[in-house]
Symmetry: C2
Subunit: 449 residues, 2 copies
């Protein structure tokens, strides 16, 4: 039976949901509302335009507005939903009559955590998010001499790399002792930090910012640091890369249950505490497959996948979203860094026992041009030897190995399975010994001593 679904949000979660509603039944009506001028571009590409790896912002758009019209998805741009009424089954747009829905998908995304630092009102503080704003900032970057990137989050790593690549004197300021400390182990982050040094990046770890300092025009001129690098640091620009917090103001006002991460609680159908109301993407939380602990703020791929499940169910279908094992990966400095689930640091923080094995291998035959280092660390349950996490840094094939190992964690693959795994050996594309296998062998060997 055809129905009307309203989608709040035009990011990966919202667009995934809108498409899925129509995929279930073409007769379904889909209205999507976004406060921005655009939908369905790749915000993940913004740092690479700033870094001049990609020539222009236009290439980041995935589809034209007409493509959505053609698909029967009615997107209302620059249209801010100001309230949700779950009893009346409506959303309200400022100055308009309430819009009825049969089912609703909340995909309101994230906000950067407020750093709570005096001087936040100054010009020159850049929060990377909206593509139109990014276009304006990109012009400003031409005149920036010195930039501070605040917090070594995934976006922080991308922006440090991009700004350094663009030739800007770049400083990274982070309260943690190493880059990406919430996700990556220090030995995995170390090659990235070494390559930043080669690129001229200045790092200030164990260091926080307690004030943004402005000039007479209200523009940032410096940051005041506390901790290890205490003191004033002049800067034309500060890129604020704090944690992505779920944007749940609308959801909270509508009475949807909020979970321990601050994200909207959903069941495996991506349905919230209110029947017929779904949530997807950075505004929602989902269970981690190993710990069953709720997490949020994953990748655009996760948001899109969650959106498709939410949209399928909102449209009258039946799909389940499964616990996540979170393969991740990115380019940082001159390396690819990535992993699955967690590394030693997070396992320690969670009090999870584990056995570990690490190996340094290569991506091709030792003698083949373009061969790169590939470092793999594996964590496994002590009793069963089942894989529970991985950490990697290398020059090739990190994404594909992370995808593999996420499935391996999910399906209960053991260190023994990995130690004796078959692997492709062909000089231009793979080495005799697969680093994953050697890491697993090393973990098993460590148990013998």
């Amino acid at each position: 039976m055809a129905r009307r679904t309203v989608v709040v949000g035009g990011g990966a979660g919202g667009i995934g949901a809108a498409g899925a509603v129509k995929a279930v039944d073409k007769a379904n009506e889909v209205l999507a509302f976004t406060e921005y001028e655009d939908a369905a571009y790749s915000p993940c590409g913004i740092p690479y335009v700033h870094g001049k790896e990609i020539p222009d912002f236009e290439s980041l758009f995935l589809a034209t507005k007409q493509a959505y019209v053609d698909a029967g998805i009615d997107i209302h741009y620059q249209t801010k939903v100001i309230s949700i009424d779950t009893a009346a089954h409506t959303v309200t747009i400022e100055g308009q009559a309430p819009v009825h829905w049969d089912t609703l998908v909340v995909a309101t995304g994230f906000n950067y955590a407020d750093p709570g630092i005096p001087g936040s009102e100054l010009g020159g503080l850049y929060y990377v998010k909206n593509i139109r704003q990014a276009m304006e900032w990109d012009k400003i970057l031409d005149d920036v001499k010195t930039a501070v990137v605040y917090e070594a989050s995934p976006l922080g790593l991308e922006m440090v790399t991009a700004l350094a690549h663009r030739g800007i004197e770049t400083h990274l300021v982070d309260p943690q002792p190493w880059a990406l400390a919430e996700v990556a182990d220090p030995d995995i982050a170390a090659p990235v930090e070494d390559s930043w040094i080669e690129m001229g990046v200045k790092m200030h770890f164990n260091t926080d910012i307690d004030a943004f300092l402005g000039d007479e025009q209200g523009q940032v001129r410096a940051v005041r640091m506390t901790g290890m690098s205490a003191g004033e640091l002049a800067a034309d620009l500060v890129v604020v890369c704090t944690k992505k917090e779920p944007n749940t103001a609308l959801a909270q006002a509508a009475g949807l249950s909020i979970g321990s991460t601050g994200g909207i609680v959903v069941n495996e159908r991506m349905e919230t505490s209110v029947a017929g109301v779904y949530a997807a993407g950075d505004c929602a939380e989902v269970p981690h497959g190993v710990t069953n602990i709720p997490i949020q703020g994953l990748s655009g791929s996760h948001a899109y996948a969650q959106g498709k499940v939410a949209g399928a169910n909102a449209g009258g279908g039946s799909r389940k979203y499964q616990p996540v094992y979170v393969p991740w990966g990115m380019v940082a400095g001159k390396w690819m860094i990535g992993g699955v689930s967690f590394g030693e640091t997070l396992a320690d923080a969670l009090g999870m026992p584990y056995i570990v094995g690490k190996a340094t291998g290569i991506s091709r035959a030792r003698y083949y041009p373009g061969v790169k280092k590939v470092i793999v660390k594996l964590l496994a349950e002590p009793a069963t030897h089942r894989l529970i996490g991985a950490q990697m840094v290398g020059g090739e094939g990190i994404k594909e190995r992370a995808d593999f190992l996420a499935m391996a964690v999910k399906t209960g693959v053991t260190l023994e399975d990995l130690a004796w795994m078959e692997n492709v050996y062909s000089p231009p594309i793979g080495a005799l010994n697969e680093p994953i296998a050697v890491a697993a062998q090393n973990a098993l060997n460590s148990l013998k001593t």
Copy 2:
């Protein structure tokens, strides 16, 4: 208890075995015999030196002879074992007293199938195998104008690509209708063939050679073709890339059981029909994990892994070799081509029912420099949807995906698991949609119609 192991063969299987014997117990004595001047170089690298992708042959050596001496492995070079006596526990070297062993590893490798074509005695027929001979042939290649590669085996594909890359007019002659027809499906081979055309390669499929024609000096001057491209084709060089047949002359004379592939029969300990005698590598056959049919002639990685199992058991340890799922991959033309287990062609030949899904995806974000096409085809059991095979062609990440999918076949991963798999999305290293996942979704969607 320390013992003496004799290893016959200095390739990947033999060297893997010799090392494993010592790894079990340093007190074990290991003697290895090879008829060649060298051991432990990478024969797989030879085509790339011919193709000028690698600058010299020296870089193909993995270890010095002294390294083996230091490891306590006593390798006898240019020493041909002429018989094995399993009752007396000896091997015989021509002109020497029998050498005693407590355990024996037969790792005698392969011979190219005799093409059985008149003119096989002519000069200018090149069988790629020994590195010293390859060095001599490499000098000859400088003067070669036109070369024929006979049979589109894996080595054939590498040699066609290498010779074309070197600027030699290269003809591929193959009795099958497309390249690598025993392993790859025609739609997967097609991009490779297209890129060969771009490189100036001339292909003669459905065509056999019935004579090598010589000049007055006894050098090959042409091949005579039958079938689709019937006629005479002038050539300075013919690279004979026929099937690799197990080299079992010694094993057969010693009474070891030979299996359906012509390879030495071994159990899961890589032990032959005679207790204490092991075999590993291209001379042995092992069961395929999906069909349980014995197969042989796999990769150097398989030979090395089999050698390690054989050597561990020969040295007094206890290791099992598992059925193989055969991830494979290589560079051919301008593409990487690969797969796992089998594709549609081989499944059809085996009479195996399957469902199939195919997708064309990309290796990075659509807008990121260096993005390449990645085509994935998946085969699954109709009843359970368990993955049974894969075929791929693309520009990046084929090796890593093949490794992943081999484990997926082994562990019973289904199309549903793959369709909703998590994947890394980051513009420089991975696309929003993983091609493996889309292929699985397409397979499942095909069932609905």
